[in-house]
Amino acid sequence: MTKKIARLSVYLSLALALSWVEHLLPLPIPLPGVKLGLTNVVTLFLLYRYGFRDALIVAAMRVLLAGMLFGGPTSILYALPGALLALFAMAAVKRARLFTPVGASIAGGVFHNLAQLTVAAWVVKTVGITYYLPVLIASGALTGLVVGVFASAVYERTRNA
C-alpha cells in the first residue's frame, strides 16, 4: 500500500509538472481552448500500465492540485469534466482492443474538449457556442495523436521494467 501511494505520488508530481509547463508555455495557436494536453501523457500511461483506478486517482488529484496551485477554481470547473470524460473514453477505447494507446488518446482528446465546450455552454448559457465544435474536435483529435505517440513511446520502453 505504501509502495502504491509512493508510486502514484511520483506520477502525480510528474503530471502536475507537465500541467504547469503547459500553463507557462501556451501554444502559438491563438484559439481559446486549444492546448496540447501534455499532462495526459501520464494519465494515458497509467491507464495502460496500472489500470483505470490508478489513472483516475492521479488525474482527479492532478486537476484539483493544479487548480489550487496555479489554475484557479475556474480551471477545475473546466478541467475536471474534461479529464474525467476523457478518461472514460480512453478506458472504453482500451477495452475495445482494436486500438493502440494512440487511438485511445485521440478519443481522449476529442472527449476532453467536448466536455469543456459543454461546460462553457452551460456557463455562458448560450447554445450557439457550439459553432466552435469543429475546431475543438479537430484540435482534440490532433493533440490527442501527439500525446498518444509520447505516451505510447514511454509505455513500450518501460513495459518490462
Binding site: 487511438g103 490532433l142 495523436l145
Partner: protein, 121 residues
Amino acid sequence: MNRFDAMLLAGALVFSAGLFFAQHFSPRHEAARVMITRDGILLAELPLNRDDVYTIADGDNFVEVAVEGGAVFVSRASCRDQLCVRRGRISAAGQSTICLPNRVAAVVTGGDESSFDAVLY
C-alpha cells in the same frame, strides 16, 4: 499507431470538417427583414428576399429604399450629403442606413448576424 487509430483520427477530422461546412452553408431559419422608420415610427417592414422599392416622401423631401438581391440600400434621397446613398448595401442583422436630414432609418433584423468585432474574457 495502427489502422484503427488512423480510422479514428480520420473520422474525427472528417466529422469536424463536415460540421464546419454544415454550419456555414445551412440556411438561416429566420428570414432577414429591414425595418424602415421615420421619426422613430415604423413605416414598413420588408423581407430581404423579395426585391422591392419603398419610398418615403414628404413634399420635396424623399428617401427611396430599395431591396435587391438580399440586401437593402438607399437608391435615391433628397438630402444634401447623400451619406445614406453612399452607405451602400447592407444585409446583416444590426446593420443600418440612416438619412439624418430626412430622419429616416432602415435597420436590418433577423437572418445572419455579422461576426463578432471583439471577444473579451
